[in-house]
Symmetry: C2
Subunit: 226 residues, 2 copies
């Protein structure tokens, strides 16, 4: 059975990505990062998701990115936006965490190397999060090129592939895909400021996108709102 490292945040996108990797027959080693995000419910959701979708292993690394600041997701002095911002689509949201995907993919690469896994899955999506530079296809390709020079595996001729199966899907199509693969979205937490019980605020950007996705997919929204 081929091994893969799957980045798992506890949200809707990474849960769907795990389901896709499992459906492709991978033994999935899931990696979550406790990077100082505002709430813990997301990490608990990741553990539930890994178990529900039959992951082989699940590990959570702790790395306090809040020491750098600069994001509303890690810096308690910056507010999470709760309504459509004027000009928001043109810029990069304050919820962007500097170099987050680069850090997470680097950690996945380290684990993949130890596991001798040649496949890494990430739920990056360029449609809804077009403002996040590290969710673009050209970024993923550049990371893959770098990874194939970075490791022992690369020197020995084994290639590493970075899979981002959701990158061009709309939220509605991600949800349709996940439902088809049996994902229980009630276990996932997307909200940027969920409470300790994992209940969503319903008003942040991530909640709005998620709610709209369920509506467009014609699927009843299983989210627990506060």
């Amino acid at each position: 059975m081929k091994r893969a490292v799957v980045l798992l945040s506890g949200g809707l996108d990474s849960a769907t990505t795990l389901a896709i990797a499992r459906n492709q027959g991978y033994a999935c080693h899931c990696l979550s990062l406790d990077y100082g995000q505002r709430h813990r419910a997301e990490l608990q959701a990741a553990a539930h998701m890994a178990a529900a979708l039959g992951a082989t292993a699940h590990r959570t690394l702790t790395l306090d990115l809040s020491v750098f600041g600069g994001s509303a997701l890690t810096d308690k002095n910056l507010a999470v936006p709760t309504h459509e911002q004027p000009g928001e689509q043109a810029g990069i949201p304050i919820t962007y965490v500097p170099a987050r995907n680069t850090i997470m993919l680097s950690l996945a690469l380290a684990w993949a190397e130890v596991l001798q896994a040649q496949d890494i899955f990430i739920g990056a999506n360029a449609v809804d999060y077009s403002g996040y530079p590290d969710c673009r296809p050209e970024y993923i390709s550049a990371f893959e090129a770098m990874a194939n020079l970075a490791t022992k595996a690369a020197v020995e001729g084994r290639r590493t592939a970075i899979h981002s199966p959701l990158i061009t899907l709309s939220k509605a199509n991600i949800i349709r895909k996940g439902i088809e693969l049996g994902v229980d979205y009630a276990l996932t937490v997307s909200c940027y400021q969920a409470d300790d019980a994992g209940r969503a605020c319903g008003v942040c950007d991530s909640c709005r996108l998620r709610r709209k996705g369920f509506a467009e997919a014609g699927v009843s929204d299983p989210t627990r709102y506060a």
Copy 2:
């Protein structure tokens, strides 16, 4: 004053790199990683070096890479080699930490983004550590290309440069350069298994390379041996 992020391990190479960055006029923000390496003396040496060379800031992030295992530097079940291994030059040493430079450069990139710094310095060296894939010039170039797609700065047209000023220098020439710039190498710890007081074993690969470097540079070796 231009800002730079400088990766600082506490060893000879990164100390020299910091001196070079300071000499080029950068306000240096030094980043160390407590990744579960065998000894703490290296991190203390990093703090001393940052102060001695006039760094603007110094932060140490904690990230326990020993959970992945696979390296003699983080896995206590693997022994640090203490003599020339047959065929060692042809392979990748057991002291290689999977994806270490990729992880450290990713963290530097995150901090650089928050600081709006466009320059990152790393003491990677392809001469003595030719067995480490992530110390090769082509790897550094690929990381730089990826970084220039990964960040808000990239989207806004500000380029990030990854500087590896030691990459083609011999250990002797690194030492000559550092002496010229006033580096006090007595403050640095290179040994893979130094004791708590920072005293070197004298027999691991890193100790042997360092000792040979001082001899070739014609500089008396200030290393404190156990």
